[in-house]
Symmetry: D2
Subunit: 387 residues, 4 copies
C-alpha cells in the first residue's frame, strides 16, 4: 500500500501550481467566466504556451504522454483556479487526444494528435440529444447514412461545450437502423465544426458561462470516410473507456475546486471580523471548514483510487460511478458551505465561491445524473435494473 505520488508527479504538480498562480490566477479566471458564450481564447493560448495540451498526447505523437494520475493532477491544478473553465483543456483532451489516441487509425493519429499537442486543434463532444438526457441510446435520433466517400448525418445534439470554436465534434450517431439491439449499430464521427448543414444555437446556462453550451442541428451534414473513428457500428464498445476518462478528469477537477474552496474560506475566516473578533473564531464556521477539509480528503482518495485502478487496467466502472457521485456531492456541498461562510460576500459575483458553486452544480447531473449513477451502482451490486 502506498498513497504517495512519484517524485515526477509531485514536480509536475508543483510547477503547475506556480504556473497557474502566475498565468491563470483566480481573479483572472473569474472575469473570464463571466462573458457568456464568449470563448476564452486567451486561456486556450496560455495552455498552449505552457505545453499543457500535450500532456494527454502520447510521446510518439509529439505529446508528453502523462499517465492518468498526471492528467488528473492537471485537471486538479487547473480546476483550483479555473473551476469549470478547466474544460477549455479537458474537452479537447477527452474528445480529441484520448479518443483518437485510443481508437484512431495511424493516419488519424498523425493528423490530429500532434496538432492537439501544439494547441492548434480543438475538440468537443456531441453525445446527448434534446429530450434524451441520460438515456443516451433510447433518446438517439441522429442518424448517419452511408454515401459515396462518406456519410450524411441528420439529427441534433445538445449541451455541446464550446462547439462554436471547435474544429471537430466527436459525435455519436445511429448507422445501422436494423441492428437487433439498441447498443449495436452506432458509430463515432469527427464532424468538422465548420461543416455545411451544421447550425448551432447557444444555451445560456448557470455556470461555465464563457465556454458556451450549444444545441446542434445537423441537416445532411457530409462527413468524409476518414473522419469515422474506429469500426462502424462499434461505438458503444468504444464509449466506456472514453467515458471513464471523462469521469477521471471530472474527479480531478472536483479535487481542484475543493482546493480552491478551502483556500478561500480559510483566507476569509482569518481576515474578516465581526462582533469584535475574527470570524474564524466562530465554532460553527470552524465546523463548516472542517467539513470542507473532510470532503476534500474523501474526494481525493476516491479520485486517486480510481486513477490507480484504471492505470493498472482493472475494471473500474462501479468504482468510477461511485466516485463520480461522491466527488460531485462533496464539491457541491462544500461550495454551498463556502458561500455561507463568506456570508453576503459569498453572494457577490466578485468573489469565487459563487463561481465554484454554480460550476459544481453541473457535475451532479453531468455527464450522468447522480440518480442514474446510483441506479447503476445498485445494479452492479446485484439488484435488478430500476430504470
Amino acid at each position: 500500500m502506498d498513497f504517495e505520488l512519484t517524485s515526477e508527479q509531485q514536480r509536475f504538480r508543483d510547477e503547475l501550481h506556480e504556473w497557474v498562480e502566475r498565468e491563470v490566477p483566480k481573479d483572472w479566471a473569474r472575469d473570464l467566466e463571466r462573458r457568456e458564450s464568449s470563448y476564452p481564447y486567451e486561456l486556450w493560448d496560455k495552455l498552449a504556451e505552457g505545453g499543457y495540451h500535450a500532456v494527454s498526447v502520447s510521446a510518439d505523437y509529439g505529446g508528453q504522454g502523462g499517465d492518468n494520475v498526471t492528467q488528473m493532477l492537471l485537471a486538479r491544478g487547473l480546476g483550483r483556479s479555473l473551476a469549470g473553465l478547466t474544460w477549455t483543456w479537458g474537452s479537447t483532451s477527452f474528445a480529441g487526444a484520448n479518443s483518437v489516441g485510443l481508437y484512431g487509425s495511424d493516419e488519424q493519429k498523425k493528423r490530429f494528435l500532434p496538432a492537439i499537442a501544439r494547441g492548434e486543434m480543438r475538440f468537443t463532444i456531441g453525445f446527448t440529444e434534446r429530450g434524451g438526457g441520460t438515456d443516451l441510446l433510447g433518446g438517439m435520433r441522429t442518424e448517419a447514412r452511408k454515401v459515396d466517400g462518406g456519410w450524411l448525418v441528420n439529427g441534433g445534439k445538445t449541451w455541446c461545450t464550446s462547439a462554436h470554436v471547435s474544429d471537430y465534434i466527436l459525435l455519436i450517431a445511429r448507422t445501422d437502423l436494423q441492428a437487433e439491439r439498441r447498443h449495436q449499430g452506432v458509430s463515432l464521427f469527427l464532424v468538422p465544426g465548420n461543416a455545411e448543414g451544421l447550425t448551432m444555437s447557444p444555451i445560456p446556462s448557470l455556470g461555465q458561462r464563457s465556454l458556451g453550451a450549444f444545441d446542434l442541428l445537423l441537416e445532411d451534414v457530409f462527413v468524409a470516410d476518414d473522419l469515422l473513428l474506429g469500426e462502424p457500428n462499434q461505438a458503444w464498445y468504444m464509449l466506456l473507456p472514453t467515458l471513464n476518462y471523462e469521469r477521471l478528469m471530472l474527479l480531478g477537477l472536483c479535487c481542484g475546486i475543493l482546493d480552491g474552496i478551502l483556500e478561500e474560506v480559510l483566507a476569509f475566516a482569518q481576515q474578516r471580523e465581526a462582533f469584535g473578533r475574527s470570524i474564524g473564531e466562530f465554532q460553527i464556521l470552524q465546523h463548516y471548514i472542517a467539513d470542507i477539509a473532510m470532503a476534500r480528503r474523501q474526494t481525493e482518495l476516491v479520485a486517486y483510487h480510481c486513477a490507480w485502478l484504471d492505470m493498472i487496467g482493472r475494471e473500474a466502472f462501479l468504482e468510477l460511478t461511485m466516485a463520480k457521485v461522491i466527488a460531485t456531492e462533496h464539491t457541491s456541498r462544500a461550495a454551498d458551505l463556502g458561500i455561507q461562510i463568506l456570508g453576503g460576500s459569498g453572494y457577490s459575483a466578485e468573489t469565487h465561491l459563487q463561481r465554484y458553486w454554480r460550476d459544481a452544480r453541473l457535475y451532479r447531473m453531468s455527464p450522468v445524473t447522480n440518480e442514474m449513477a446510483r441506479n447503476l451502482v445498485a445494479e452492479r451490486l446485484g439488484l435488478p435494473r430500476s430504470f
Copy 2:
C-alpha cells in the same frame, strides 16, 4: 384553532394569481432578471397599474391597508413568478410604506405614503456596512453630524438593493458618539437617492440580477431635518418592528418560490420521457417531489403562524427568527432538488429552477445569516450568547 384564510384574503390571492399569470408570468420574469443592474421599470409600472404598491399603505393615506396576512399573500403570489424580483415591490413596501407608516410624523406620512401607494416613489434600505455584515452595530462607521437645518452624513453602506433608482434610502447612522452603549445613539434617515455627495457602485451578484445591489459612499451628504425618521438616537428601538416586517415578507416570498418550484417540477416530471417512460414514474424523483411538497407545507405553516402572532400583537422575535431559518433552508433545498429533477435542463438559464435556486441562496444569509439566527434562537432559549 383555524387555519383558514378569510374569504377576502382568498379573493385577493386568487385575483393576484390571475394578474400574475397575465401580466408578469414566469418567462417574462426570467428574461427581466437576467439584465444585470438594469432596473425592471416595466415591472414597477405594472405593479403600480395593478394597484399593488398600495396594499401596504394605510387606507388613511390612499392605500388599501392590507393586513399582514394579505401582504404576505402578495409576497407569495408575486414570488411564485418573480422570485427575488418581488423586492421590486417589497423594498418600497418595507423601507417606505411600513417604516414611514410606523414611525413617520403626520407630515411625513402625507408626503410619502400617498406617493408610494400610487407607485410614484421608491425606497430602499442602507443598513449593512462593508465589513460589518451581521454585526450591524459593531460594524457601523457611518455617522451623521447635526448641522444647521439638518445633518451631514459620512460613511458607507453596502448591499443596497436598487439604490440607483430609489428616491429615498432608509439609512441608519450613528448620531451620538458618546452614547454609553452601542445600541444607543443611532438614528434613521431618509436619504434622497440623488443627494449630493452620495456615490454608488454596483456589486455584481449571483441572483436578483436586474435589481442591482450597490455600495454607497456618503461624503458630507446633507439630509434635511424633515427627513429624520422618528426620534433621534432611538433607531435601535424602531428597527425591530421594521425587521420583523421584512422577515414576514421574506417568509411569504419563500412560500411563493416553493409554489413555483413545485409547479415546475410536476409539469416537467409529467411531460419528460426517458427509458421509454415518463420520468415522473421514477421513484427517486417522486421522493424529491414529495420532499418539495413537504418543504412547502412546513414553510407555509410557520409563515402564517408568524403573521398571525404579529397580527395579534404578540412578541414574535423568536418565532420569526426560527421561521426565517426554516423557510430559507426549505426553499434553498427545494430549489436544489428541483434542478436535479430537471437534470440538464435545470442547468439551462432558459428554465426557472436555476433562478429560484440563485435567488433563494441569498436568503440563507440575508437579512441575517442563518448561523446568526441560530445563535439568537439559542440565546432566547436561555443559553449564553455565543457571539
Copy 3:
C-alpha cells in the same frame, strides 16, 4: 386564522402536565420501559385513576368525549415523559375507543366503550402480517370462514403491541376469497385475546420494550358474530378513518417526545461543564439545540393543522401522510442530536435521550414506512404509482 388552543384545551394540557410530573415522570418511565415484554400494568392503572382512558370515549358512553385536538394534547403530554409507552393508552384508544366508536353497533358500543372509559378493557391491533409489511392487502394470508354463530380465523399477524395483555385484538382478515379486487372482501374482527387456537410469541425489539410486540398464530380461532365490527367485507373502507386517527395520535406523540428532548438538552447544556465553561456556551451545541426547537415548531404546526382538518371534516389523507413523514423525521433527528449534545451520557441507559431515540426510530417505519408514505404523497400530487 387562529393558532390558539381554546381555554378548555389549555386547561386540559396544563393539568395533564402536572399529573405527568407527579404520577408518571421521566425517570419512572425510563425504568418501566427497560423490562422487556413485561407489561407496565402500573402505568395502565395510573391512567385509569387519572381518567385518561375516558378521553377518547364519547360522553354518551361514559367518556369525556375529547375532540381530536384534546386527544392529541393527551398523546403529547404523555409522550413527553412516556415516549413509546404512550401506546399503553394509545392502543386501546385507537383500536378500541375510536374503532368501536366509529363502526360498532349500539350493542357493541354499550358493551365496550364504558369498560374502556373505566380502564377495564385493553385493545390492540392485528393488521400487519409476517412478510407483508407495508403491503397490507397484498400480504394478507389470514382468512376468516363463516361458520355457525361466528367465524373461524386462520393465519398469522405480527408486530401486535401488548397482545399478551389485550382483551381484544382488532384484526383484519380476508372473508371473501372470490372478491374481484384485493381491497374488497376483507373484514374487521375483535378477536378475544384469550381465544382458543391463538398463540403468541414475543418479538424482542429495539424500543418500547416493556410493551412487548408479538407474533400471533391463529389456528381455527372461533370469533362469535357479535365480534364482527361493521359490515362484513367492508373493512377497507373503515380502515382509513381508523388509520388517520392512529396517525394523529402519532403526531401528538412526536410533539411530546420533542418537548422531552428539548427539556433534557437545555437542562444538560446549562449544567454540564467542559473546558472551564458551561457546554451551553459552545456554539455548535447551541445550533443543535436551535435545530431541535425548530423541529418541534414545525412538527407542532403540521400536527395541529391535521387535527384541525380532521375536526372540520376535510379530507386529510395527503396532509396526514406528509405530516407523518415530517414529524417522525424531525423527531428521529432531534433525538439523535440530543444524544450528541449529552455526549457519553447520551449513551447511558440512565438518561432519557437514548430512549427517545430508540422509540422514535420506530415511527419512521410504522405504521407505514416513510418511503411508502412518500410514494403515496407523490401519487396524490398526480404522479403515476411507483410501487
Copy 4:
C-alpha cells in the same frame, strides 16, 4: 501509488473471514451482545484459541507482530460480525499490547506481553472522568501520591469497558499538582483490577451491552512502582500514539460494520417481497444501498490511508481526527439507512441492523466527540481554538 494489500495481508483477511463465519458468526454475536454486563468469556476464549490476541504483540514476546494494516484488518474482520464486541479483542490490544509494547520497560514487556498473546490477561482503559468527558485534562480529579514502593491513587473514572473482568486498567492520574501547565504532571498506571480500594458500578448502556461499562471509584488504591508505565509526569506525551492506535482500530471496526450492513441489506433486498415484487426493485431502496456502498468505500480509503501514514511514521493526528469523524458518521448513517431498508424487521432485536446501529452510535462520541474532533481539525488548519 498502490492501493493493494500485500498477499500476506490478503491471506490473513481471508482466513479471518472463514474463522469468523465458523466460530463467531453474526447470530451468535447478536445473542452474546444482549446479555447486559455479562462478559462474553466464550468470545474471549475463541479469540485466544484462534491466536488473535497475539496479532498486536511483537514476535519478540511471543506474538505475531502484525503491522497496523493487519491489525486494522483484524478489527474489520471481527467488526463485521461482532460489531462493538470487537473491543473484547480491542481493549486489551490497545490498552495492553500496544501501550506496554510502546512504553513498557523490558521487565514489563516480559511480564505482560506473552500473557496477552496467549489470551491470559485482559486490559482496559480508565481515562475519562465523570463530568470530564472530552476535556480529559481539565476534568481530571484523579491523583496519585508517591508513597513507599508505589503510589496511592484516589479519584474516579467512568466508561471503563469490561473493567470488572480486566486484570489491569491503564489509568491516567495527576502525579504533580504543582506542574505549571495542565498537560504536565500526569502519569500512566496499570492498576490491577482486583486492587483494594477499587470499586466498580455498571453503567447500563445503549450498545455493546454484554461488554459492560463501569464507573470506577478509587480510594487509596495502592499501585506498586513496577506498574507505572513509562516515566512519571510524562503521560501526556505517551497518550498520542496510544490514542492514534485506538482510532486506527476504530476505523477498522467501522469498515467491518459497514461490511456487515451491506451484506445484510443486500440479502434482505433480494429475498423480501412486497407489492408483488422483490423490494430490491424499489429505486429508493436501491439508492439507500448505493449510499451504503459509497459510505463503505470512503471509510475504507480514509482508514487505509491513516494506517499507511502511521506505518511510514508520518504525523497523522489531523488525518486520524478527520478519519474518525468521517468513518463514524458514515457508519452511523449507513446503519440508520439499513434499518429503514429492513422496515419493521429492522426494529426487531432478532436482526442485526439494530445492533450495528446502537453500537455505531457510540463512536460518534467516543473516544472523542465528533464536535471536539471538528474543533481540533479546524485548529490544525490554522484557526484559533474555539473551545
